[in-house]
């Protein structure tokens, strides 16, 4: 590989392309040739680094880690001269530090530790050589030349690695099950369905470091004795699909996939399959049905996939993140990994932070860190310094935890005891303006729509819960509703066929447990304290502050606001749909929610 002293990574997500990322790459290349720097500075493409709202394509320069943004083609000659010839940072184009919150993946914060995200944003995901330059595929080489499949399984087992896709089952144990199962054809499957709204770590890893997933899968296949693998990616992630396909082709051309990998007698190949927008396909038996080309309906277990999986053959499914960690364990040793983390949860976990927290984006922290540390130290606290109300973990099958739980150490067991789950690491932070009854209703709407309908408790039960919650949000709740809700939660949880139904009541149950007073106010006083539930609120314009600027009237989607210029306006409650746009855009805070 040629030696470059600088690497320029230009973001080529669709937005940057639209804003001329490719033209910028060409211009950079031409200018580097012109200034005689083309052998020293390498221009690369990378997935999203910027924020779609900036006015031009984004690029990062390494090793300095400088982020330039708002670049136009005319800026290129100056930038190249300043940064690469004279070695000075062209400060007028750099991204200011305060905008850190806009980046999906920023420089590691204190308390962070990056194992899974080690390469994300640092290397060109479309170039296998960059992965190799950072010790990529060394673990595979080690396994194939120095370790037996049994030793590989033992190493992963001793590391304490548990599945990152939800249930947290020990990965090494799963591999042993499939290794011991009888059958000539065995399958290794990667679950990249990432259906939890609020989680995006799997997408980032696939788009930013696809080879770590490929390498992890090959090692797993070697340990399990699998000869064919599939990566099942959700249809909502077209860039991840493309990146994984490119990575697989590159690995194949390097002899890392296909027959006799690295000259050994082990053969394995990989293929990408796409989902088509069904949440339940993240469940392992449903996912396999989908790969087989069928409706993605789960089936009862046993038999477990390790005995009877894809096309009735022994199969093993792990999450993207689980696979991406494996090469690091092989390289650094089981003990290194086992020493990171907390009790029975070893290593690190990525969390996708979203909602009302200052720094949204992806983080990776050792297990055992508290929720408070994550939200306040890494996440920078609540937006606009409002009050924290709840954090939702684990997606639609997880729960909402209030302030009292912020001291909890993050690990599989602690969250489960608190009535939530770790799930795939989505963290949606909610401030005081959130209505917890409305949130419970929102999740129920989700699970109700995504229930595949195969089993009655999940199909009918979730609909019943949704009806009751909708009624409560409309101010038509009855006191006995709370008892009915609890009963339904219990029955659905106990009698459903798959994890979707078993977990579906969690958002309702946790909000009933921790925010019962909000339910009571809705039911007894017909009031929504957070002023979210539309049937229970009304919008009014206050006389004093309103200057009659007409901004609200012009932006009202249903023309419900009337008034002459420079005179106080009024909202017609019969037309108003309570969308809240007026309140948000009024420069004088003249809109009141009652």
């Amino acid at each position: 590989m040629a030696y470059f002293r600088s690497h320029v990574l230009v973001s080529i997500d669709p937005i940057c392309i639209d804003k001329g990322a490719y033209e910028l790459i060409d211009a950079l290349h031409d200018e580097l040739v012109k200034q005689g720097l083309i052998d020293e500075v390498q221009v690369l493409e990378t997935s999203r680094i910027g924020d779609p709202e900036s006015e031009g394509p984004d690029l990062m320069v390494y090793p300095e880690g400088v982020h330039y943004t708002n670049l136009s083609l005319e800026d290129v000659p100056f930038l190249v001269e300043e940064h690469f010839l004279k070695g000075r940072i062209a400060a007028q184009y750099t991204r200011e530090a305060k905008e850190i919150a806009d980046k999906e993946l920023s420089a590691p914060q204190a308390k962070e530790m990056r194992i899974v995200l080690k390469n994300v944003g640092e290397i060109d995901p479309l170039n296998i050589e960059e992965y190799i330059a950072r010790d990529g595929y060394m673990a595979l080489g080690k396994v194939l030349t120095e370790m037996t499949p049994e030793e590989t399984i033992q190493e992963v087992l001793e590391s304490g690695l548990r599945g990152r896709g939800g249930a947290g089952f020990p990965t090494g144990l799963k591999w042993r099950f499939i290794r011991d199962a009888e059958g000539d054809q065995k399958y290794m499957i990667c679950n990249a369905d990432e259906g939890d709204p609020g989680a995006f770590a799997n997408r980032s890893v696939q788009e930013g470091d696809p080879h770590s997933v490929v390498e992890g899968m090959i090692i797993a296949a070697y340990a399990a004795g699998a000869s064919q693998g599939y990566i099942y990616v959700r249809a909502e992630y077209p860039i991840a699909v493309r990146t994984m396909r490119i990575a697989i082709d590159q690995a194949r051309s390097f002899g890392l996939l296909g027959d006799n990998i690295l000259g050994s007698d082990f053969s394995f190949d990989l293929d990408v399959r796409m989902g088509a927008g069904a949440f339940v396909c993240g469940e392992e038996t449903a996912l396999m049905a989908s790969i087989e080309g069928k409706r993605g309906e789960p089936r009862p277990r046993p038999p477990f996939p390790a005995q009877k999986g894809l096309w009735h053959n022994p199969s093993n499914i792990n999450n993207v993140e689980t696979f991406a960690i494996v090469p690091q364990i092989i390289l650094n040793g089981a003990m290194w990994f086992a020493n990171i983390g907390h009790e029975k949860s070893t290593g690190t976990k990525t969390f996708s932070m979203a909602g009302d927290v200052k720094n949204t984006g992806l983080i990776e922290v050792p297990f055992g860190i508290t929720l408070r540390e994550i939200i306040y130290d890494v996440g920078g606290g609540i937006k606009e310094d409002k009050k924290f109300k709840a954090v939702q973990t684990g997606g639609p099958m997880g729960g909402c935890l209030p302030e009292e739980f912020l001291h909890l150490p993050m690990d599989y067991e602690a969250l489960e005891q608190a009535g939530s789950i770790l799930g795939s690491g989505g963290l949606v932070v909610m401030d005081e303006d959130t209505c917890m009854v409305d949130i419970a209703r929102f999740f129920m709407e989700f699970t109700q729509e995504e229930s595949c309908g195969k089993c009655t408790p999940c199909r009918i039960g979730t609909r019943r819960i949704l009806e009751i919650l909708t009624r409560i949000c409309e101010g038509k709740g009855k006191p006995e509703d709370i008892v009915t809700l609890r009963l339904l939660c219990e029955q659905i949880n106990e009698n459903s066929l798959c994890g979707l139904g078993k977990g579906a009541p969690n958002p309702v149950k946790s909000t009933l447990d921790h925010f019962l007073d909000e339910y009571e106010v809705h039911i007894l006083e017909k009031r929504c304290p957070a002023k979210i539930c539309k049937p229970l609120i009304r919008f009014e314009i206050i006389d004093g502050p309103c200057t009659g600027c007409t901004l609200c009237a012009r932006n009202c989607p249903v023309d419900a606001i009337f008034g002459e210029r420079r005179q106080t306006h009024v909202i017609d409650p019969d037309i108003c749909i309570k969308c809240g746009i007026c309140e948000q855009i009024c420069p004088y805070d003249a809109i009141e929610i009652k």
């Binding site: 939890d196 909502e236 399959r273 796409m274 790969i291 993605g296 009302d356 595949c452």
Partner: protein, 172 residues
Amino acid sequence: MSLKTLEKISTEDPLNDVEQRVIIDQILDENKDIPGATMVVLNRLQEAIGFISPAMQVYVANQLGEPVSRVHGVVSFYSFFTTIPRGKHTIKFCVGTACYVSGVDQIIEKAKQILEIEPGETTEDGLITLELCRCVGVCSQAPVIVVDEEVQGRVKPNRFPKTVQDLKSKEA
């Protein structure tokens, strides 16, 4: 599929369009022998043609040697597969948790007002289809909309009209 059945289907159907027919046959040719072909073929058809008409479902079933009911069952199970054509452009609104909490509702209301259609519908001139979608995985930029293939983050209701304007001027 016999010629006779083909005659019965609408002249508007992609199967009766010479160019689209070539694409359909090519997709079937390339994929019909791989394991689990149904999903792969349907995904490719949805992407290339934009929808999977009832006639196309029958055609796919015949070519893959599957019962029509099974292909139809798969198409109806997955929300990504649509059976009627969409507009030239689609605007999808993410209704995932992060986007819900960040007020995607307001943007949907604005869109309904400007385009005078509901999500799931297409404007009369066939230009724009509105859709709701599941989390697209850029939650840190919530609220998020997807205009054709382009993800737009931190969308504000009063900036939405410009998005529509841009699509219209692209056509003009």
